[in-house]
């Protein structure tokens, strides 16, 4: 049918344009990472080089920023995953009249511009640490005071990342069979034991995915971090500074690295997923066979 054919062609064109729009700048940037000119250029291509990648490693600020980003990311995981889990559990138990208000409060950070989260975090904690005297805490000659870029970034980012984690846990919790908790209690387990033995293992996939989500969201965050990091720096803020100053292909090199890592991550994820599917299918097969042999092989109990 002609109109069907036209439809298909239009869809193909649209997809083509869309993904060109999406990938175009990145491809261009990728090319410039390997091109010699100091101003990033894809066209004309001069000579292939990888020295921009080496430049990256030598950039001290960037390395320091990278280190801080990793620390902050780990800190966010440690804070956001437990809090997200707690928030999800509380959501299922909160007094029904308070539920909408609770939901509004915990979801609001997602709907708030990142800059505002950063600003409010800094302002509040500055006065708070002054009032409680925790601004500077000397331990073994190192300052563990709470008014630090690292700490505030962790707090500021976690404000909305906790919400992300909570949503991940909520959707996993919905599929949880409560009867298992009762069975465990009935067998004599205490509440912490039920939590540790039954609930957490069930939530393990959610714990992993929310941890990864937390780390990635934290690592690439700019709007909130730029306020909360105070005098310190993260990879992203260093990057921002560099981009403001001028453009060099070293930054393109960085983008290539990041995309490379993401692609590896995506492939690894896909491989893991396929493996899980295969195991589940295998188990189902064994169960079906057991049903079939069930009646034939009912032996006398010992």
């Amino acid at each position: 049918m002609n109109s069907r054919g036209i439809m298909k062609a239009m869809i193909a064109v649209y997809l083509g344009i869309f993904f060109t729009y999406l990938f175009g700048p990145l491809l261009v940037m990728g090319v410039t990472a390997f091109n010699t000119p100091t101003y990033p250029q894809a066209f004309p291509f001069q000579t292939f080089t990888t020295h921009w990648f080496a430049d990256l490693l030598g950039d001290r600020d960037m390395m320091e920023g990278l280190w801080n980003s990793i620390i902050i990311g780990l800190g966010v995981i440690c804070l956001a995953v437990p809090v997200g889990l707690a928030a999800a559990i509380v959501m299922t138990q909160v007094y029904w009249r308070a539920r909408s208000l609770y939901y509004l409060v915990v979801v609001s950070p997602v709907l708030t511009p990142g800059v505002i989260l950063g600003i409010s975090t800094v302002i509040f904690w500055k006065d708070f640490t002054e009032a409680t005297g925790t601004k500077q805490i000397e331990i073994l000659g190192m300052d563990f005071g709470l008014y630090s870029g690292i700490f505030l970034s962790i707090i500021g980012q976690s404000t909305f990342i906790c919400a992300y984690c909570m949503l991940v846990f909520l959707s996993r919790l919905q599929r949880f069979d409560r009867a298992q908790e009762e069975a465990a209690l009935d067998l004599g387990a205490s509440f912490p034991q039920v939590f540790w033995h039954i609930l957490l293992p069930f939530l393990r996939p959610a714990i992993f995915s929310s941890a990864i989500l937390a780390f990635l969201s934290s690592f690439e965050n700019y709007n909130t971090t730029t306020f909360a990091i105070l005098a310190n720096k993260t990879l992203v803020t260093v990057l921002a500074g560099r981009v403001r100053q001028g453009t060099t292909p070293a930054l393109s090199a960085l983008a290539v690295i990041i995309v490379g890592i993401s692609l590896i991550g995506a492939i690894a994820y896909e491989v893991l997923r396929r493996r899980e599917d295969r195991i589940a299918a295998q188990r189902a097969k064994v169960a079906r066979e057991a049903e079939r042999d069930g009646m034939a092989a009912v032996p006398q109990a010992a």
């Binding site: 069979d177 069975a183 465990a184 009935d186 067998l187 034991q193 189902a284 009646m295 109990a301 010992a302």
Partner: protein, 361 residues
């Protein structure tokens, strides 16, 4: 070690709704006791109260003589087998079975030993390393039982455990459960809506309806001597003939029903003028007419031949049909559809009970 379970005027309310009304009974040590009734009658509620997930609104629950009020499910000497089994999907079969021991701090080596013992008890040796979702329905059942037995409870509570199984497996599991109970010797409290299960497995049965325990007794008593109209109509098939008591004599009563004046045993001490129902079981009818007060005449609606017996359906005084079950070798000729049949019964086998709600209402 086993214990007896006592319910003393236990009433359980949810807001305004009364789920269980003043239940009082004593289940002896080592008994296989069933609660039988339709859905919503309160049997699950009683089970959850005995296991500790609910506290009664009034009354006391005692296990082994000890008042259980305020004692949580993890501290009671009971173990519950859930209707959907609630096995732990992320643990192996052996880990499932020994979970109760694990939370009590039993060391690993001993847990392994116990797991092997229990696995052979339920006839699943060497299946310990499998995951739960690799088992068939019947196997999962047995794992659930082993898991409960591992903690050596004094009372085992079973919540309709066989309802999800298919017919053949259910028949087999009935014998298994009974055998296991006899071997282990602890008190079993079993709830079901299937009277076949209750009758074949239990030492005693409590028939419940709408929160009230209508009768407690062993299977034979409940079947032959039902105490209320509900029990008479719920357990087994029964034909009700409603009316008013016309005469009373010597342990019998004559009821003026829509099918004439019929005679049956009067165990409830009914008096002339009381509203009553006379019950005759389908298998108590004979194809030959009986005495004047033990014969029913009615047109035949249908005859169903079922191999070793035939079912004959007669037009009853109400919408409900009168059902007869006649054995293959019974005397008399099987009437044809449309004929008016005259069938008789022995008044000794008929029961007169006070009028009340029937199971089918």
């Amino acid at each position: 070690m086993s214990a007896d379970v006592e319910l003393d005027s236990v009433t359980i309310r949810f807001g305004d709704f009364v789920a269980v009304k003043s239940a009082t009974l004593k289940i002896s040590n080592g008994e296989f006791f069933s609660f039988l009734g339709p859905s919503g009658c309160g049997k699950t509620t009683i089970l959850r109260t005995v296991s500790g997930f609910l506290d009664p609104s009034e009354g006391t629950v005692r296990i082994g003589g000890q008042d259980m009020r305020g004692i949580g499910p993890n501290k009671r000497p009971t173990a519950l087998i859930f209707q959907n089994l609630a096995l732990f999907p992320l643990m192996t079969v052996a880990d499932n079975i020994t979970y109760g021991l694990r939370v009590r701090g039993v060391p690993h080596a001993e847990r392994v030993k116990r797991a092997d013992e229990l696995l052979s008890l339920i006839a699943l040796p060497d299946q310990g390393k499998k995951m739960v979702n690799e088992l068939s329905g019947g196997q999962k059942q047995r794992v659930a039982i082993a898991r409960a037995l591992a903690v050596e409870p004094q009372v085992l509570l079973l919540d309709e455990p066989l309802s999800a199984l298919d017919l053949k497996l259910r028949q087999h599991m009935r014998n298994e459960l009974r055998a296991i109970q006899k071997r282990v010797g602890i008190t079993f409290i079993y709830i079901t809506h299937d009277q076949g299960e209750a009758l074949t497995m239990s030492d005693r049965i409590a028939v419940m309806n709408a929160g009230v325990i209508e009768q407690v007794g062993d299977g034979k008593t409940i079947y032959d001597q039902p105490a209320t109209a509900f029990v008479a109509s719920f357990v087994g098939e029964n034909n009700p003939f409603a009316g008013r008591v016309f005469a009373v004599d010597d342990g019998f009563a004559v009821v003026d029903t829509g099918k004439g004046r019929l005679r049956g045993r009067n165990r409830r001490g009914l008096k002339v003028g009381d509203e009553a129902i006379l019950f005759v079981r389908p298998e108590s009818f004979k194809l030959t007419a009986g005495g004047e007060d033990s014969t029913v005449a009615a047109p035949v609606l249908n005859v169903a031949f079922e191999g070793n017996m035939s079912h004959i359906f007669l037009k009853g005084p109400t919408k409900k049909e009168i059902t007869l079950t006649i054995g293959r070798d019974a005397a008399g000729h099987i009437p044809a559809q449309g004929e008016t049949a005259r069938v008789g019964f022995d008044p000794q086998a008929a029961t007169v009970l006070p009028a009340g709600k029937l199971a089918s209402d």
